[in-house]
């Protein structure tokens, strides 16, 4: 597998030399392979958003290297072109919509790629369908008349339409209802299944992403305190507690039962499995 992101000794300080100077990232190192799904978790203020803004060249390291799609983002010429390959969806992207219709909004990025009218339309329709909007019914609507959740979908479609190799999403689930969240999860699953599409997703909640992520990065006060497979993270109860990372309730219940010496299988991945484990336990107790 080839790597799509390589970060070496990355440090970043906001407003160096001013009274507001603050080191937001400390000595970050990791490699992400193409096609993988990386979940970034950590408390508010741990540096998650700062980190991902390095991945599409919005921020440049104070020191260290950020190599995305094989090129160092310190290279200005490359950095200015990086948006075509690394699409970033900001926090609350629904606030950045500005076009008069949904179609124009989603087409804004592709238009700047110099595509033909037909290619552009295909991409826009495809992107709208991926976020659960029916192109023929919605393309002429004004984004401003939609609810926040719907506008979020439009904003995400705008990035999907660029068809970037790497999509980076900063808290895309925040404030969405369960339909919106499930749609977002399906979108991620779909990208994963394609095999070569890489996704980086920030979440303050491990619950949202643990089942999907190939790799998890845990940030704590600007440092990368864990990077690796989810399974390895689940066993690190001290780290989970220290970084205030919550597992889903059913996993917590099963882990607590196991910790009390009861015979339960802790490799479960769903609430159904948790429930049948517990029922098995209770039935055995009755015998």
């Amino acid at each position: 597998m080839s790597s799509i992101i390589e970060i070496k000794d990355l440090n970043f300080t906001y407003q160096p030399g001013s009274p507001y100077q603050r080191q937001a990232l400390k000595n970050i190192n990791f490699i992400l392979n193409q096609g993988e799904f990386l979940g970034i978790v950590g408390s508010n203020g741990s540096g998650k958003s700062t980190l991902v803004q390095h991945l599409n060249g919005l921020l440049s390291p104070t020191s260290g290297e950020v190599i995305v799609c094989g090129v160092d983002t310190a290279n200005n010429e490359f950095r200015n072109q990086l948006w075509k390959q690394a699409g970033l969806v900001f926090q609350y992207p629904e606030q950045q919509l500005f076009e008069a219709t949904i179609y124009e909004e989603v087409a804004y990025g592709p238009k700047n790629l110099g595509l033909s009218e037909l290619d552009m339309r295909n991409r826009v329709y495809d992107a709208l369908e991926k976020v659960g909007l029916i192109p023929r019914e919605t393309q002429h609507l004004a984004p401003i008349t939609l609810s926040g959740g719907m506008r979020r979908r439009v904003a995400i479609a705008g990035i999907l339409a660029l068809q970037p190799k790497l999509i980076i999403m900063d808290e895309p689930m925040a404030g969405l209802d369960s339909i919106g969240r499930n749609l977002m999860l399906d979108l991620m699953k779909d990208r994963k299944q394609k095999g070569n599409e890489t996704t980086v997703m920030i979440s303050h909640s491990l619950k949202d992403i643990w089942a999907l992520a190939d790799k998890i990065a845990v940030l704590d006060k600007g440092s990368l305190v864990f990077y690796g497979e989810v399974e390895k993270l689940l066993g690190k109860t001290e780290l989970l507690t220290k970084c205030h990372l919550e597992l889903p309730d059913y996993l917590q219940v099963v882990y607590s039962l196991a910790a009390r010496g009861l015979k339960v299988n802790t490799t479960i991945r769903s609430i159904e499995e948790a429930s049948s484990e517990i029922i098995k336990l209770l039935q055995e107790a009755e015998l």
């Binding site: 205030h244 219940v253 009390r260």
Partner: protein, 285 residues
């Protein structure tokens, strides 16, 4: 007593649909009658677009009902002379804190409201200290709000509402930007504000996990009240919630599943450790 509650009487709210010049109206709320008492802790639930935020904005007179009326402690929100007092009594924290932060320094942001009430400066200072302490932002009091993280901004927005000593506190999806610790802290603060200070909480969320500690849940769907009751009753009706795209908290889904198989779990469970305790208890019998 109408003096100690917010009353919505047959409230309907319609919006004109955007750019359309025609007679295209969208009904955001349809004939809502609801009373929220001082000291109550209400969870207001519904999907995106169900009318939650519209309802919240009606409660402090930010918008007016198209028909019907809203009374806050006996004052009609349509009457301009009462608006200032209504908005002090009914504090509101919006979904996105950036929308309500206006000052360049955290402390000034919190002082903004009370200064407009014409309070003495030592009283303002005392209240600021109190509000900062409640949300845990004491260390950042001299900071610039735009340099705070999303969750810190949300705490700031809450502090600047608390400082007005409201009788009712409306929180429109306040936990969406918070990490689990921040969320737990927020829920704990709200519980204390509700229990000890008697401030009514109206907590809007589509995440039912946030609402376990509410006294009463009001579920909205397509602008109407769909379901109402104490949390565990509402959570028990999984099919009815699923019909409008809602899911009970994981803990209750697990409890409901165990119940289906004949293992009844105590009604009063609200946390993971309590459930673990109950299961251990059952397994020992």
């Amino acid at each position: 007593m109408t003096d100690h509650c917010i009353e919505l009487v047959n409230v309907t709210k319609t919006y004109r649909n955007g750019s359309d010049a025609g007679n295209n109206e969208k009904i955001a709320l349809n004939d809502i009658t609801l009373t929220i008492h001082e000291g109550e802790y209400i969870g207001l639930i519904g999907m995106n677009g169900s009318g939650k935020s519209t309802l919240a904005r009606l409660l402090n007179g930010l918008i007016k009902p198209t028909t019907g009326k809203v009374n806050v402690n006996g004052m009609d929100t349509r009457s301009p002379k009462h608006l200032m007092e209504i908005r002090r009594i009914v504090g509101m924290v919006f979904q996105n804190p950036d929308n309500q932060i206006v000052c360049p320094v955290v402390e000034e942001e919190i002082a903004f409201g009370p200064e407009n009430l014409g309070l003495a400066s030592d009283e303002i200072k005392r209240r600021i200290d109190w509000a900062l302490q409640i949300v845990g932002l004491e260390e950042l009091r001299d900071h610039a709000p735009h340099l705070l993280s999303g969750g810190q901004k949300q705490k700031l927005a809450i502090a600047s509402v608390l400082v007005m000593l409201p009788n009712y506190l409306i929180m429109d999806e306040p936990s969406s930007m918070l990490d689990p610790l921040g969320r737990q802290e927020l829920l704990e603060h709200l519980r204390i504000l509700n229990n000890q200070k008697g401030i009514a909480i109206i907590f809007i969320s589509h995440n039912l996990e946030d609402l376990i500690q509410a006294d009463r849940l009001v579920v909205l769907d397509k602008g109407s009240i769909y379901l109402q009751g104490i949390p565990r009753e509402v959570f028990a009706d999984e099919a009815k919630l699923a019909a409008i795209g809602l899911e009970p908290p994981g803990l209750y889904r697990l409890i409901n599943k165990l119940g289906k198989d004949g293992y009844d779990i105590d009604d009063h469970i609200k946390t993971v450790p309590e459930l673990v305790e109950a299961i251990c208890h059952l397994s020992l019998r």
